[in-house]
């Protein structure tokens, strides 16, 4: 599984960001390679269409097949369902990337 997680900063202590497309950073987690990277979200300042653009980038460049988030905007939902990306909706927003990596059993 290769998953994208919206986060508020570029450390693994970062809390997840509530809105996916407007998050400042995204963690891309590869559970098969047990690795992750944090990338800056270049689309978060876009006036409109940020959701569609970020999904396109994540699928084509980062080969992401899963999105883990607390809340997803309508454009993201539609685009993700269209691209057959798995959506995982978290039950709480006060959760850090570190906690999620632990849940995913990723060696840090």
């Amino acid at each position: 599984m290769k998953a994208a997680i919206p986060v508020n900063s570029d450390t693994n202590e970062a809390l997840i960001s509530v809105r996916f497309a407007r998050s400042p950073y995204l963690a891309v987690v590869d559970t098969e390679k047990s690795a992750f990277e944090i990338i800056e979200n270049a689309y978060n300042k876009m006036h409109s269409g940020a959701g569609r653009s970020i999904i396109e980038f994540l699928v084509t460049i980062k080969q992401v097949n899963t999105i883990i988030a607390y809340e997803l905007g309508l454009n993201i939902q539609q685009k993700a369902l269209q691209k057959k990306i798995q959506l995982i909706i978290l039950k709480e927003k006060e959760i850090s990337l570190k906690q999620l990596l632990k849940l995913l059993r990723l060696n840090q």
Partner: protein, 134 residues
């Protein structure tokens, strides 16, 4: 006999099952049931700010049908708020876009776009989960 209601399409299941009034110490009254499609109409129109035409296309119903669903939703929410009823979000004729599950270990909700049989939660690898829809 009235015609049965058509199915409406819902993208993502509601996060919660309902609301309870705070600071209301009387005996619990009969809860108000907000159908899933009524919840979705509030989400699309009031939260996402879509027009009724846009929302009706997403929910795959006609615009007048959406207006009726939305009116029912608002009436029920107003009743719950004013009369201090619990609000339960369940039932109705909505169908989800694909299969949705809830893990009963980590309580995340997830869909299954591949269509393969799911044995584990993709987040916590737990085996206890239930399907929310077909």
């Amino acid at each position: 006999m009235s015609r049965p209601r058509n199915h409406t399409r819902v993208q993502i299941p509601p996060r919660i099952k309902g609301f309870i009034p705070i600071g209301y110490y009387s005996r619990t009254s009969e809860p108000v049931q907000l159908n899933i499609e009524e919840y979705e109409s509030i989400r699309l129109l009031d939260y996402e700010g879509l027009s009724q035409v846009e929302a009706s296309e997403i929910m795959e119903v006609s615009r007048p049908t959406l207006t009726r669903i939305y009116e029912r939703a608002r009436r029920k929410i107003a009743e719950a708020l004013t009369e201090a009823h619990q609000l339960i979000i369940e039932g109705g004729t909505a169908i989800y876009n694909g299969e949705w599950y809830e893990c009963t270990d980590c309580y995340c909700k997830f869909n299954n776009p591949s269509g393969h049989i799911i044995y584990n939660c993709p987040l916590c690898s737990g085996t206890r989960m239930h399907i929310l829809s077909n």
